[in-house]
């Protein structure tokens, strides 16, 4: 299978601190990859390198065969790498529909349009209604996002990311700070996007149940280095991973 994302020997230094050290990985088209690791393992830094928040100190990143190492985050969004944020980033006072609609209109190139023809307006509305339906918010589409439950806000954010017509969906701790019910809701949504709609997804995640339940492959980071890379069964059986998580005594 061809690689949707390929990371080659990427490192990131902040002064003397080496946050990410010589990490390489390939994510195939249609794959759901989870990136895990103990606290301080460099997961978030690594994620920010992929999404273009930081430029790597060395190494290269390829998206669908194209070298994106020097592209800014908004440029990467434009070519099909959409992300969600650890802290939900939405337009809180606007409705679910409006949130998704803004993303859809900007993607369609209408950001500067002072008006839309009836035909284009209808097409946008259909797109928006479809996305809102897919993330399970159809009955809440007119509510302001800021007053929805945490899980619903996350679902709205995912709908916004989908409105960008991504070929790669990057989710930064999608279930962070969520209760049992909401974690279940979001995990179900991610699974549906992956299995039924074959999105390529990379997610950074803390919740091990979510990771082992969803992921095709798991990459484990520890102290900025890639410790292991494999299927959930391989990772579960990996001694190095167990040591990183539970300490040498285990």
């Amino acid at each position: 299978m061809s690689a949707m994302l390929e990371v080659r020997n990427v490192s990131k230094h902040f002064g003397n601190l080496v946050a990410v050290k010589d990490v390489s990985l390939r994510v195939a088209k249609g794959e759901l990859r989870a990136i895990i690791g103990p606290n301080g393992a460099g997961k978030t830094t690594f994620f920010n390198l992929i999404t273009g928040f930081f430029a790597p100190s060395s190494g290269e990143i390829f998206f669908d065969g194209r070298n994106v190492t020097r592209l800014t985050a908004p440029q990467r969004v434009k070519i099909g790498m959409a992300r969600t944020f650890q802290i939900t980033e939405v337009f809180p006072e606007l409705s679910v529909n409006e949130n998704v609609r803004i993303a859809a209109e900007v993607t369609a190139g209408y950001a500067l349009s002072p008006w839309l023809s009836a035909e284009r307006g209808r097409s946008i509305e259909q797109t928006v209604a479809g996305l809102v339906e897919r993330v399970g918010l159809a009955d809440k589409s007119q509510r302001a996002v800021g007053e929805l439950a945490h899980g619903d806000q996350r679902a709205a954010e995912i709908a916004m990311a989908l409105a960008l017509r991504p070929r790669l969906l990057l989710l930064d701790e999608p279930t962070a700070g969520m209760g049992e019910q909401e974690t279940y809701q979001i995990a179900g949504l991610i699974r549906k996007l992956h299995r039924d709609e074959s999105y390529t997804i990379i997610l950074v995640e803390h919740d091990m149940r979510v990771v082992f339940h969803l992921a095709d492959r798991i990459s484990v980071l520890d102290q900025g280095m890639l410790l292991a890379d494999g299927t959930p069964d391989e990772i579960a059986a990996d001694r190095a991973v167990q040591e990183a998580y539970l300490g040498k005594a285990a």
Binding site: P92, V106, L116, D139
Partner: protein, 328 residues
């Protein structure tokens, strides 16, 4: 969970309510010359309220719908006042040309200043808007031979408008002038309302709500803020041109910092999340000023008192209470 049909019906209901409110507002405005005398008002007060309301709505295009605070918008209002005044005084006694001159002078200055400041945010943005306003104020104040300096520009009057078959005598008839102001108000407010319902308008709301998110959706935030600033300056320039005709006088205080503050107060009092709120704020401000200033020179104290009371009991402004009912 509600079935989809309910949502559609609720949507239609909301749309119908919106049209009903809009129709109500226009009936009130069109009939104003007839009901104003019944409440001890008068037609030219109505014209003043429309003009300052339009100015406050223009400021609010930026504050309430783009999330960028300008404390220097009197600059573009005042340039509208002087643009119209100088056209009438020095060039030709044509009301339409005076209007165009005011719009172009106010809006043009907004385009230039906006291009220079659209990268700043928050308090820095607000401070720079004040700085530019002071520059324009001192030019008007010092350039005696053109602007009339401290005394302002006098010696012009709004001119009757000729439509070929008939003439609208806005010079002698307060009633005719009111309707002229209302038509200009309708066009300018209509442009702002139209833009806010467009994809471009929604990007402004997005910037207000979460600039970081807007940027990562691919919205060129600085460019959009510049456009919003410019649009707002053109609109307030139109209000300024009308103001010159209300008074037949271009007053340097129309460029001054105090007026910028008054416009923000009007917007906040009426409700910055509401399109029509600033008009209501302007009405309250102007009526209070008209009523109280004939009794005491300390009228500003009472306006301040009312402002504090409104902000305490209606933190989202008087019309802010009716916004976002969809939340329920």
């Amino acid at each position: 969970m509600r079935p989809g049909g309910d949502t559609t019906a609720a949507l239609r209901g909301a749309a119908e309510r919106r049209w009903a409110v809009l129709a109500g507002i226009w009936v009130v405005l069109i009939a104003a010359p007839f009901w104003l005398p019944l409440v001890h008002g008068y037609t030219s007060l109505g014209s003043r309220i429309l003009v300052l309301g339009l100015a406050a709505m223009s400021v609010n295009f930026l504050i309430g719908f783009t999330g960028v605070v300008s404390f220097g918008h009197a600059a573009y209002f005042g340039l509208g006042v002087y643009g119209a005044g100088m056209m009438l005084r020095y060039v030709t006694a044509s009301t339409p040309l005076a209007l165009v001159a005011g719009i172009l002078l106010g809006g043009g200055a907004g385009v230039v200043v906006g291009a220079m400041i659209c990268r700043s945010r928050g308090i820095y943005f607000a401070m720079i808007t004040i700085a530019f306003e002071q520059i324009f104020y001192y030019i008007a104040y010092k350039w005696d031979s053109v602007t009339g300096g401290y005394d302002g520009l006098r010696g012009f009057q709004r001119a009757p408008i000729h439509f070929g078959l008939f003439t609208l005598d806005i010079k002698h008839s307060d009633l005719a002038f009111y309707y002229f102001v209302l038509v200009v108000f309708a066009i300018v407010a209509g442009v702002m309302g139209f833009l806010l319902r467009s994809p471009f308008g929604r990007t402004l709301l997005a910037i207000r709500e979460n600039e970081r998110r807007a940027r990562f959706l691919g919205i060129a935030v600085d460019l959009h803020i510049w456009l919003s600033f410019s649009i707002s300056a053109f609109c307030i320039g139109a209000a300024g041109a009308l103001y010159a005709m209300v008074n037949n006088f271009s007053d340097p205080s129309s460029l001054y910092f105090d007026l910028s503050g008054d416009l923000v107060i009007m917007a906040v009092m009426g409700g910055i999340r509401s399109f029509w709120g600033p008009l209501l704020g302007a009405a309250i401000f102007e009526v209070l000023q008209d009523y109280i200033s004939s009794r005491t020179v300390n009228w500003l104290f009472f306006i301040g008192l009312v402002f504090v009371i409104v902000v305490m009991f209606f933190p989202r402004g008087l019309l802010g209470m009716f916004q976002r009912r969809r939340a329920a």
